[in-house]
C-alpha cells in the first residue's frame, strides 16, 4: 500500500490545452476509431497498419513528405529481445526439469529391492539434458552481438548479457546444490554398504581401493555362506559397481557445468562491490562517453599527424629514385 499521487490526468489536460502535436492526436483518434470497429473487422491489423502509414506520410508545412522513424530499433535489439525471451522460456523449462530431477532423486534414494536401472537411465538422461540446456543458454548469451562497439548502445548490449547471465547463474546454483546433495547421499550409501561388508576388518585406502578390498573380503567370506546369501552379495556387488558409474556420471555433469558456469561468472557483477553501485555506474558511463570522445579526437589527430605522412612520402621518393637507378644500371 504505497502512497502515490498520479498527476498524469492533469498533465494530459495541460498538454491538450497547448494544442501542439495535433497531428499525433489525429492519429490517436484514428487508431482509436479502428479499435472501436475492430469487432466487425476481419483483418483489423492490416487496416490499422494502413491507416497509421497514411498518417505517418503526412505533409509538413513546407510540403515535404515526413516519414517518422520513431520506434525502429536497430536490428541487434530484435535479436537480443528474441534471445531474452528464449532464455526466459529456457529457464522455466530448466526449473521444471530440475524439479523433476529432484523428485526422481528422492524416489531413487528410497530403499528397495526393485530393479532401478530404468530409473537410473532416466536420471542420467535428465541430467544430460539439463546440462545441455545450460550450455545452450550460455552460447546464446554470448552470441548477442551488438552492432556498434562503442557508445551507450554497447552498454545496453553488455548489460543485457550481464542480466541474463545472472539469471542463469541463479538457477545453476539451485541445480548444483541439488546435485551435490544427491551425490552426498548416494556416496554416503555406498560407504554404508562398504562398512557392512568390511565390518570385521579395517580397510585402508580411498573409495576405489576399498571396493576392491571388499570384493576380496567377500570372496573369503563366501566359504561360509549359503547359496542364497552368495547371490545377494553378488547382486550387491553389481549395485556397487553401478553406483560407482552413477557417481562418476554426476561428477562429469558437474564439471561440464563448471565450465559453463565459469564463463557466466566472468560476465556477472560481483554483488556488494563498488561495481554494483548505481552511482558508480552512472559516473562510469559519463566517463566512458567522455573518454570515447577523447579517443576519437585523438585518433583523428593521429590520422592527420603529418610525421607519418611525411615518412611515407619520403620512402616513396627513395623507392622511386632507387628504381630509376636500377633502370639506369640496366640500360
Amino acid at each position: 500500500m504505497l502512497v502515490v499521487r498520479d498527476r498524469t490526468f492533469l498533465f494530459t489536460q495541460y498538454r491538450n490545452s497547448f494544442g501542439h502535436g495535433h497531428r499525433r492526436k489525429r492519429r490517436n483518434s484514428a487508431s482509436g476509431g479502428a479499435s472501436g470497429i475492430e469487432n466487425e473487422d476481419l483483418i483489423p491489423n492490416s487496416r490499422k497498419y494502413k491507416r497509421v502509414q497514411e498518417e505517418e506520410e503526412e505533409l509538413d508545412e513546407d510540403g515535404h513528405v515526413v516519414i517518422e522513424m520513431t520506434t525502429m530499433p536497430p536490428q541487434w535489439v530484435d535479436v537480443a529481445e528474441e534471445v531474452v525471451y528464449q532464455i526466459e522460456e529456457d529457464i522455466k523449462d530448466i526449473k521444471y526439469l530440475i524439479s523433476q530431477l529432484n523428485d526422481l532423486h528422492k524416489k531413487h534414494l528410497l530403499p528397495g529391492f526393485d530393479d532401478k536401472t530404468h530409473e537410473e537411465r532416466e536420471i542420467n538422461d535428465l541430467t544430460n539434458s539439463i546440462t545441455g540446456r545450460f550450455q545452450d543458454c550460455q552460447v546464446k548469451i554470448k552470441n548477442i552481438q551488438v552492432s556498434s562497439t562503442h557508445g551507450q548502445d554497447a552498454t545496453v548490449g553488455k548489460n543485457i548479457q550481464i542480466s541474463l547471465a545472472a539469471k542463469l547463474q541463479e538457477i545453476s546454483g539451485e541445480y548444483r546444490r541439488g546435485q551435490s546433495i544427491y551425490l552426498q547421499k548416494i556416496s554416503g550409501r555406498k560407504n554404508a554398504s562398504v562398512d557392512v561388508f568390511a565390518s570385521s576388518r579395517n580397510n585402508g585406502g580411498g573409495g576405489g581401493l576399498a571396493i576392491d578390498g571388499v570384493r576380496d573380503e567377500s570372496r573369503q567370506f563366501d566359504m561360509t555362506l549359503s547359496d542364497g546369501q552368495l547371490e545377494l552379495i553378488e547382486s550387491n556387488e553389481n549395485m556397487i559397481a553401478e553406483r560407482e558409474g552413477e557417481i562418476s556420471h554426476i561428477h562429469e555433469s558437474i564439471s561440464e557445468l563448471a565450465q559453463v558456469f565459469g564463463r557466466l561468472q566472468e560476465m556477472v557483477i560481483d554483488q556488494g562491490t563498488l561495481l554494483d553501485r548505481i552511482d558508480y555506474n552512472i559516473e562510469n558511463t559519463v566517463i566512458n562517453t567522455e573518454s570515447a570522445a577523447q579517443e576519437l579526437t585523438k585518433a583523428e589527430q593521429y590520422q592527420k599527424s603529418s610525421v607519418a605522412n611525411k615518412f611515407i612520402i619520403i620512402l616513396g621518393v627513395i623507392a622511386a629514385i632507387l628504381f630509376i637507378i636500377l633502370i639506369l644500371k640496366w640500360i
Binding site: V3, F11, A166, L274
Partner: protein, 582 residues
C-alpha cells in the same frame, strides 16, 4: 516502519510498472537516494539496462528504449527534463517525482512535451536517504545546502528541503502525526509549523484509513541542545568507521591507506547487502575483533577446502560454492582491511587516551583532575591538534558555569602548542552554538544539587567500559517521554494539534513552556515515533534507537530517527565553522 523497505518499494514499483527494455534517468538528488537502497544487478534484473543523469547532455539517442525518470522536483531537474522532452532521445517517458509537484511545473512539462511521449506523471514519495531500517537523513552539507542563515535562522531553501523530506518520510510510512518540538529551538518550531502546514494542505494525501490510535509522533529536536555527542570518539563499528574514516552515502574512501589494493580503494558499507556488517555494526571495538576473527576463521576453513582441489569431490565442492565463496572472500577482505585501518588509527593517534578524557569530560564532574588531564593532553606532541581542540571544547562546555574555569588559559595553551587560530576559535563558536544559554535540559546532569548527587554516586560505582560510558541526551529525553513524565519544557506540542487547540490565545515559543499541566495524559500512549534532528543526527543516537527497537519498553513501540545529515565530529565542526554566529 521500515525506511529502507519504503524506498525500495517505490523503486520496485517504478521499474515494474513499465515492462520491457528501459533506461533510468536520475538527477543529482535521486541518484544517492536510489544508490543506497538498490544495486546495479537489481536494476538489470528489472530490464533497466542503462542508468544516466538527466543533466548529462552527452547521452546517445536510443529510441527503442522506454525511459523511466525519477527526479526531485527542483528547477534544474525540471529544466533538464523539459529540454529532454523537446529533443527526445528515447521512445516514451514515464516520469516519477520524489515529491509534490507545483501546478506550474506540470504546466512546464506539458508545454515542452511536443511529441506527446510522456505516458505517466506520478509522485513517488522517496525523498530521503535511507541508511538503515530505522534511520534516514537528507544529506545536507554546508557545500550543497547550508542550514543556518544566522545562528537561529533557517536558510530558506534548507527549510523547504527539510519540510519536503519530512513530508515524504511521513507519506512513505503512511503516518499522520502529532508534531512536537523542543521548546527552546526557534528552528525546530519553524520546521514543525512548516510540516504541519503542509500536512493540512495535502489533506487528501494524509487521509489514511483507519486513523491510527495512538497517533504517531513526529518529534523535532535541535542539535544545539546536545553539542557533546557529535564531538566524541565512537567505539561501535559503524559509528567508528564514520568518525575515523568517514562514510559518504554508504561508500568508504580508503585511497589514503598505504599499499591498498585497487579494488579496495572505495568499499561499500551497506546494512541491506552485507550481512556481516548488519550483524556487527553495533559491536564495540573489542567485540568486533572477536567477531571478525570468527569471520576470518570461517573463511579460512572454507578456503582450505577450496585450496586442496585434489580429488574430484573437492572440485565439485569448489564449483558448487564458488560464487558464494567469491562473495565471502571479497567481504572478508573488505572488513579485515577496514578493521585493520581502524586499529592503526587508534594506536597511531593515541585514541584510547583521548577517548578516556573525552568520556570523563562528557560524563563526570571532576574539575581538578579534568583540567590537569586536558593540560597534559595539549602538551603531548603525539596527539593530533583536532583532538586537543575537541577536548578543550568539551571542557569549556562542561565547566562553563564554574566560576573558576580555565577555558581562556587552555585556549592560550592550544595556540602556543601550534594549533591554528581557526581551530582555536572553534571553542568560542561552539559555546555560542550550544553553550549554557542556548541549551535546555540537563545535558551534563549538573544543573542542580539533586542531579549532581546522582552523578557523583554514579561516578563512585564505576563503569563497565570507560570508553563507552557516555549516553546521548536523546536517551534521557526518550526515557522521560516513554515513562510519560512529560517535560513540556523539553517538548512543546504544536498548538494546532494540542488538546487545547481551541484556546486561541495560546502562542508557542520558548517563553511559554511549563504551563500545559493537564491534557498531556493522552500523549503518554506511544507507538510510532519519528525523531528528527535539526542540525544533524549521530550514529551514537542511531544505535540508541536500534537498541530500543530491538527491545521496546512499551509494547509496539517503534522509533525511526533522522536528521539533516549524519554527523561525525569533522562534519559537525565543519558545519559550525562555516556558519556565522553573531
Amino acid at each position: 516502519m521500515d525506511i529502507i523497505r519504503a524506498v525500495q518499494s517505490y523503486v520496485e514499483r517504478m521499474l515494474s510498472d513499465t515492462t520491457g527494455m528501459k533506461v533510468l534517468l536520475l538527477d543529482e538528488h535521486t541518484t544517492p537516494i536510489v544508490s543506497v537502497v538498490a544495486t546495479q544487478s537489481y536494476l538489470l534484473s528489472k530490464e533497466t539496462y542503462l542508468v544516466d543523469k538527466v543533466g548529462n547532455s552527452n547521452r546517445d539517442t536510443l529510441k527503442h528504449l522506454k525511459c523511466v525518470c525519477f527526479l526531485r522536483p527542483t528547477d534544474e531537474s525540471m529544466m533538464a527534463l523539459a529540454k529532454e522532452l523537446q529533443a527526445p532521445r528515447y521512445g516514451s517517458y514515464y516520469v516519477y517525482f520524489s515529491n509534490a509537484l507545483k501546478k506550474s511545473m506540470i504546466e512546464l512539462l506539458a508545454e515542452h512535451d511536443e511529441n506527446e511521449l510522456v505516458q505517466e506523471v506520478q509522485e513517488f514519495y522517496a525523498d530521503y536517504l535511507a541508511v538503515d531500517s530505522h534511520t534516514f537523513h537528507f544529506g545536507m552539507t554546508p557545500e550543497n545546502m547550508p542550514i543556518y542563515l544566522t545562528a537561529n535562522e533557517w536558510e530558506a531553501s534548507a527549510l523547504d528541503r527539510c519540510t519536503q523530506g519530512l513530508i515524504s518520510v511521513l507519506l512513505s510510512l503512511r503516518k499522520k502525526p502529532t508534531i512536537r518540538y523542543e521548546a527552546n529551538s526557534r528552528m525546530a518550531a519553524k520546521l514543525a509549523e512548516s510540516v504541519s502546514y503542509m500536512v493540512n494542505r495535502e489533506k487528501t494525501l494524509f487521509d489514511f484509513k483507519p486513523v491510527e490510535k495512538p497517533p504517531p509522533l513526529l518529534l523535532i529536536l535541535d542539535r544545539r541542545n546536545d553539542p557533546v555527542t557529535p564531538l566524541l570518539l565512537q567505539w561501535m563499528y559503524h559509528a567508528m568507521v564514520h568518525e575515523l574514516v568517514g562514510i559518504n552515502n554508504g561508500l568508504v574512501d580508503l585511497t589514503h591507506v598505504s599499499g591498498i589494493k585497487e579494488e579496495l580503494k572505495q568499499v561499500v558499507l551497506s546494512v541491506d547487502q552485507d550481512s556481516f556488517f548488519k550483524q556487527s555494526q553495533y559491536l564495540n571495538f573489542g567485540e568486533l575483533g572477536e567477531s571478525i576473527r570468527d569471520y576470518v576463521n570461517n573463511y579460512q576453513s572454507k578456503s582450505q577446502s577450496q585450496q586442496k582441489i585434489e580429488s574430484i569431490t573437492d572440485m565439485k565442492k569448489f564449483v558448487e560454492s564458488y560464487p558464494e565463496f567469491r562473495k565471502l572472500s571479497g567481504n572478508v577482505t573488505k572488513h579485515v582491511t577496514l578493521v585493520g585501518e581502524l586499529s592503526r588509527l587508534v594506536s597511531d593517534h593515541h585514541l584510547l587516551t583521548v577517548s578516556e578524557l573525552e568520556q570523563s569530560l562528557a560524563c563526570n564532574e571532576q574539575h581538578k583532575s579534568d583540567l590537569e588531564q586536558v593540560k597534559a593532553l595539549i602538551s603531548n606532541p603525539g596527539i593530533r591538534p583536532v583532538y586537543k581542540v575537541k577536548c578543550v571544547i568539551l571542557y569549556a562546555l562542561r565547566y562553563e558555569g564554574l566560576s573558576t574555569h580555565a577555558t581562556s588559559e587552555l585556549k592560550q595553551m592550544l595556540a602556543r602548542s601550534g594549533v591554528s587560530p581557526d581551530m582555536v576559535s572553534m571553542v568560542d563558536t561552539m559555546l555560542k552554538f550550544g553553550g549554557r544559554r542556548q541549551r535546555q535540559g540537563d545535558l551534563f546532569e549538573n544543573s542542580n544539587i539533586f542531579t549532581r548527587g546522582i552523578n557523583a554516586i554514579k561516578g563512585l560505582k564505576g563503569v563497565e567500559n570507560v570508553y563507552t560510558q557516555h549516553k546521548p541526551l536523546l536517551s534521557q529525553t526518550l526515557d522521560l517521554l516513554i515513562q510519560g513524565r512529560e517535560h513540556l519544557k523539553i517538548q512543546q506540542l504544536l498548538p494546532t494539534y494540542s488538546p487545547h487547540g481551541a484556546d486561541g490565545s495560546r502562542t508557542h515559543g520558548a517563553e511559554r513552556y511549563g504551563q500545559h499541566g493537564g491534557g498531556t495524559s493522552s500523549m503518554t500512549a506511544l507507538k510510532d515515533i519519528i525523531i528528527f534532528f535539526v542540525g544533524g543526527v549521530t550514529l551514537e543516537e542511531e544505535a540508541v534507537i536500534a537498541k530500543i527497537n530491538a527491545n521496546p519498553p512499551l509494547p509496539g513501540l517503534n522509533i525511526v530517527i533522522g536528521g539533516t545529515t549524519i554527523h561525525n565530529s569533522a562534519s559537525f565542526l565543519d558545519e559550525l565553522s562555516t556558519t556565522f554566529f553573531p
